[in-house]
């Protein structure tokens, strides 16, 4: 096959020209994506953008109508792949009447892990997540007896128990309290440290911004932004933004400088501190020089980094926010 030539060992996941249609609409339109091995990749976008479809296609749970997908260097339909993948679906659920140990043992066995190994791994992970201590072992409780947060952690353990090379998490942080969310984040970072690839979808921009090496933003079945987070930010060509905090009494002295339309585009005034968006063509250096010349007392002068949220708003527009995007989380 022609696309076999495109195989690249650097990538854990490659989608090339993938289109998926449902009876009533086109879920994905000609998307291409490459995810490097050993990285954390964020799949961002509003609800219904096509994130879950992208994930399900990558896991061979569905077939694309057009295009092809390679996972860990193999065709996505290669049966032996499943044991090397871990998947946490957005819609969570386990066998509620089974005990934790039997559920996890089952999930491990269908990933090709032998029972004794599975039992050892279950103990390790349960200890790590604080569910197995000297006075209690929740492995013997049924899922029904556990809180929702605990059930989510069990499901997360089931996803990574067999030590997969590629872990795909669909909205892993939704429904988790901050403490549990932190333990999941720690595990994700640890997986990356051990050379695994983690792909997760989220609508929480700040989590993606803090954790991901690379991101793709999906909107209405198309990829609107894709690449290394650092590159995305450096290539972002919007006007620079600066936050300036004044010494007390220097605000009036600064007013003249800030009123110069050739230098300053927009000012967000917080009394002793202002967020300045520079006019096009102006540089932060020029602004600093002018303020110093005007003898303005400056307590802090920070270059504001463009947030992913900002970039997303620029690319997708406010409609994305309306449909469930969030810059916080």
């Amino acid at each position: 096959m022609a696309h076999d030539d495109t195989e690249d060992p650097r990538y854990a996941l490659e989608l090339v020209g993938v289109t998926k249609r449902y009876a009533s609409h086109e879920a994905l339109r000609d998307i291409s994506l490459q995810i490097r091995r050993g990285t954390i990749f964020g799949l961002l976008g509003p609800n219904g953008a096509g994130k879950t479809t992208t994930i399900r296609l990558s896991l061979n749970l569905m077939k694309p109508d057009e295009g092809h997908i390679r996972v860990l260097g193999e065709r996505a339909s290669e049966p032996s792949l499943v044991n090397r993948l871990g998947y946490l679906p957005e819609e969570r659920g386990l066998y509620r009447r089974m005990t934790v140990r039997r559920v996890l043992r089952f999930l491990a066995r269908i990933k090709g892990v032998a029972r004794p190994t599975a039992d050892r791994l279950i103990d390790e992970w349960m200890e790590r997540f604080g569910m197995r201590t000297s006075d209690r072992d929740l492995a013997n409780a049924t899922l029904d007896e556990l809180s929702r947060g605990m059930q989510q952690k069990i499901q997360f353990i089931g996803t990574v128990l067999h030590d997969p090379e590629l872990v795909i998490l669909d909205e892993p942080f939704s429904g988790l309290d901050p403490v549990n969310a932190q333990s999941v984040k720690d595990t994700v970072v640890d997986l990356r440290r051990r050379g695994k690839t983690v792909v997760f979808s989220t609508h929480l921009m700040d989590i993606a911004e803090r954790m991901c090496d690379a991101v793709a933003i999906v909107n209405r079945g198309q990829i609107v932004l894709n690449g290394e987070l650092r590159e995305i930010k450096s290539q972002y060509s919007g006007p620079a933004r600066v936050s300036v905090t004044f010494d007390s009494g220097s605000v009036t002295a600064a007013a003249e400088v800030l009123a110069d339309r050739t230098l300053v585009g927009q000012v967000d005034d917080h009394v002793n501190q202002v967020d300045v968006t520079l006019a096009s063509g102006a540089t932060t250096q020029q602004l600093l020089e002018r303020l110093v010349t005007a003898k303005v007392g400056i307590a802090r002068f920070d270059r504001l980094e463009t947030s992913l949220h900002q970039i997303f708003l620029d690319r997708v527009g406010v409609t994305g926010v309306e449909a469930g995007m969030s810059g916080h989380g």
């Binding site: 009876a23 399900r56 896991l59 749970l61 569905m62 077939k63 339909s77 049966p79 499943v82 044991n83 993948l85 998947y87 679906p89 819609e91 969570r92 659920g93 386990l94 066998y95 509620r96 009447r97 089974m98 039997r102 089952f106 999930l107 066995r109 269908i110 990933k111 090709g112 499901q155 089931g158």
Partner: protein
């Protein structure tokens, strides 16, 4: 293979461990034991409430009829019982003897008295006076004994020797119908009818019961969203196969235990009744050849597989438990229609309706075992029937596997028939 075993192990292990399984497995034999043992036991207990030794026979015939009947009734079936007391009275004494016994009966000293007089010898009627109700079985026994003794007396009066009269009077008749099997073995047709009917009903119940378990299992997996996790590790057809095999294993285990319990009870029926102080005869178990057992198991397994596949399709396309209950109606109708025609098939097991029904795969798992119990089905009929059933089951399983993969991941809406047809055509 490991994955299939893991799925089978989960389905089988979880179910066998469940309270539901333990309860129904124990409750089944208890219910059957109750059905098999209680009615005769209760009947026997009711009979025993009339103890022959607590009766008094007043004999005014002057022929010794009272003594003869007393020995007959007291000895007869229940050899341990003491025969009733016999009071021989003349025509003059009779009224006072009866009055005396009446008083004894009122005071509860005796359970009843029987008057045998010239009316009895002439017309065969006798009067039994009791305090409590009339147990039918006892009166029947008394009547039979009276008839026998009167007949004997008449034979003697006609000049037949005592010994010959005894023999003639004891003559009883019964028609036993016997069916000659293909292998030359004989079997009672009545037992065969009960057996064939029993097996058909049992197969029907088992297919509905375990088919429903497959349906619920699929719906539950879809509702709880577990299926998505599992499908990411196991191909849909392996998941489906594991589920059907695992639940089928539970079915075989449970049916096996139930059958063993029934056979044990029936084989030891007489001994069990003896322990309970009730005399009863053993019911002969129909002779079943090894081939018949293999065929019956094959019909159950194939019938179960066919219906389980259909139930799995219904379960995977339904979006809720309630919807699944409604959507299964067509499948249930297929099964019920064979049951509705069961009577017709029993009436004429070689008729064209019965023949067709034992070839159509949706009814053959119930009809063919029934016919096998009633008549000798030709080998060619069996081969065609099993072949058609097997093929249909495989086809249904393949279709179910195709639908399963797509339908399990559709949560929001129920797919249209056209969509389902499209999934069936999709290739891996």
């Amino acid at each position: 293979m490991d994955k299939l075993m893991a799925v089978i192990g989960r389905e089988f292990g979880e179910r066998v461990r469940s309270k539901w399984f333990v309860l129904t497995t124990l409750f089944g034999p208890l219910l059957l034991a109750g059905l098999l043992l209680l009615p005769p036991w209760i009947a026997a207990r009711t009979n025993a409430s009339i103890d022959p030794s607590s009766l008094v026979f007043i004999d005014q015939t002057g022929t010794g009829l009272g003594n003869a009947v007393a020995v007959d009734v007291g000895g007869g079936v229940r050899a341990t019982a003491t025969p009733p007391l016999v009071l021989v009275a003349t025509r003059e004494q009779i009224d006072s003897v009866v009055a005396l016994q009446r008083a004894s009966l009122m005071s509860g000293a005796i359970a009843g008295y029987l008057i045998l007089d010239t009316v009895t010898t002439a017309g065969g009627t006798a009067r039994l006076v009791l305090r409590d109700g009339v147990p039918g079985a006892f009166t029947e026994r008394l009547e039979a004994s009276l008839a026998r003794q009167l007949q004997r007396a008449r034979l003697i009066s006609l000049g037949v020797t005592d010994e010959n009269a005894d023999q003639l009077a004891r003559l009883t008749v019964a028609v036993q119908t016997v069916r000659l099997g293909g292998d030359g073995g004989e079997a009672s047709t009545r037992v065969n009818l009960i057996f064939g009917f029993g097996v058909a009903i049992l197969l029907y119940i088992a297919i509905v019961l375990y088919g429903q378990i497959v349906l619920r299992s699929v719906t539950e997996e879809k509702q709880s969203r577990v299926s998505e996790v599992v499908l990411a590790s196991v191909p849909a057809r392996i998941l489906l196969a594991g589920k059907i095999i695992g639940i089928g294993g539970v079915a075989l285990l449970q049916l096996g235990l139930w059958t063993a319990a029934v056979v044990t009870i029936l084989a030891n029926r007489a001994a069990i009744f003896a322990k309970l102080g009730v005399q009863a005869v053993s019911v002969p178990l129909p002779p079943i050849s090894g081939e018949s057992i293999v065929l019956l198991v094959a019909y159950f397994l194939l019938g179960y597989a066919l219906y389980a596949a259909l139930f799995a399709i219904v379960g995977s396309i339904a979006t809720s438990e309630q919807e699944a209950q409604q959507a299964q109606t067509p499948v249930i109708m297929l099964l019920v229609s064979s049951m509705a025609l069961l009577q017709t098939a029993i009436g004429n097991p070689n008729g064209s309706i019965a023949q067709w029904l034992s070839l159509i795969p949706f009814s053959s798992p119930i009809m063919m075992p029934l016919r096998m119990g009633l008549i000798n089905v030709s080998t060619s009929d069996l081969v065609v029937s099993i072949g058609v059933l097997g093929l249909t089951a495989v086809l249904a399983l393949l279709m179910a596997g195709q639908v399963y993969r797509t339908a399990l991941l559709m949560y929001g809406k129920r797919p249209s028939l056209r969509e389902i047809a499209r999934w069936m055509r999709e290739v891996d």
